[in-house]
Symmetry: C3
Subunit: 186 residues, 3 copies
């Protein structure tokens, strides 16, 4: 273990996926510290949290604040709605662990900004091959309900599933979270 | 085994979660009988079924009748849409096994009755720590579809996920049911 | 292995279930060839693909074409929206492997054609007991979102879950696919 590792955490809305990802990232840190540390004093690993949520309305604002309060204070938060690959490239030399939460919100930000979603997805996924810190990526499963009645939602659902597949394929470990309980599926 | 045990069964609509819960509860009974019984004559365990569905329209009425017919006759049915914690407290000394079906419908009853949902959820979850019979709780996974377009549905989805997480955390065993097939996740 | 085997693959929209089913069917073929072949020259197994999608609009047409291109050329495609049981009966002596994709679309075709869905489901499921080639069946999980607000969607969701349960019960092997990753649940 130690060094580069991509972990992908997928679950439904309010499935506990973000909390699980945070715990996993914190425990992973401890494991790395243990390995490195031995009897010596362990270096404190540097942790970056990439939040994709934009506070466009009160509902969203409340959610963002709630999430922030749940994070331990040793996480540095970066708020970036769109340019995730560039941000990771920029900060990966300064941080041991990056947690990116979440892929689905990022996708909806791409859609809101009228960006070429397929292109952005491919760019993001390619960038994962050159990441050299530990990266935890959180995403939503949105494809297990009834077919949405508008084309935009169907397109979003399709791209979201496509993105999840691509990231899961690249990831070293994948967890599916239901009711707060993870199942390791890869 | 034997004595107090909280089992949580979660699945999608028509996933077979109720039938699985019923089978599990019946088999659990047999197991207990076996342990207690030996060569002696086994006492018949008393089984209570808490149904939360309200027959507000024909569709619901049909569903309720269908479910009732599927239950073996040794289950005593209690119909209670809202005050579940109080009901469990009342009947737990008279029954060995209680099956509560389902958490999601109870939550929607709370919403329909304009009750303080967070408060009721916390009250219900606290009450689980003092249950002293075997309790089986059935719930729906509702968070794996596309984000609902109205705020009420989003709020319901959030609270439902929150409730499922809390109950799963307290439960001794958790099953996820898909297409009638359970996966034991805790 | 070898001979008759029913495999059921369930997953959300864009979960990678169709690709996984195709891979599984292709690998299964190889396995059979290996068993049969030894040092001899293996016979080429004959593979039929039953596609249920109807190109009613451009969106659907595009999806169908995309799926077709993803299939290796040794698969013979049969396009049949409704009479699946009859088609399987007709072709099972000429093919070693049949892949039917997907159950959910078939169900929506039944609904669009105003057919008696319960009757057709029961007919289809009964027919599975007499299949004597290897059959792979793909289906959608559609019951893990919020309750749909129209009765038709709720009815579709119910029947879809009912059908998935019945097929999963008959199947020899069942896989749940999330983000392209299968979990063998039976």
């Amino acid at each position: 273990m130690g060094g580069k590792l991509i972990t992908f955490i997928i679950g439904g809305a309010r499935s506990g996926k973000s909390s699980f990802a945070l715990n996993l990232a914190n425990n992973y840190t401890s494991a790395k510290e243990g390995v490195r540390g031995g009897d010596e004093i362990s270096p404190t690993p540097k942790k970056a949290y990439i939040a994709t949520a934009q506070a466009l309305d009160d509902e969203m604002k409340e959610r963002i604040e709630k999430h922030k309060k749940e994070r331990p204070s040793d996480w540095i938060t970066f708020e970036e709605p769109v340019n995730i690959a560039a941000l990771i490239k920029d900060i990966q030399d300064k941080y041991d662990i990056i947690l990116f939460d979440c892929l689905t919100l990022w996708l909806s930000n791409l859609m809101l900004n009228n960006l070429d979603m397929e292109k952005e997805i491919d760019l993001f996924c390619s960038s994962l091959f050159t990441v050299h810190c530990s990266l935890f990526i959180v995403s939503n499963e949105v494809g297990m309900g009834i077919v949405p009645d508008n084309e935009l939602s169907r397109r979003f659902r399709d791209l979201s599933g496509y993105l999840n597949q691509k990231v899961a394929e690249i990831a070293d470990e994948v967890y599916l979270v239901t009711a707060g309980i993870p199942i390791k599926i890869k």
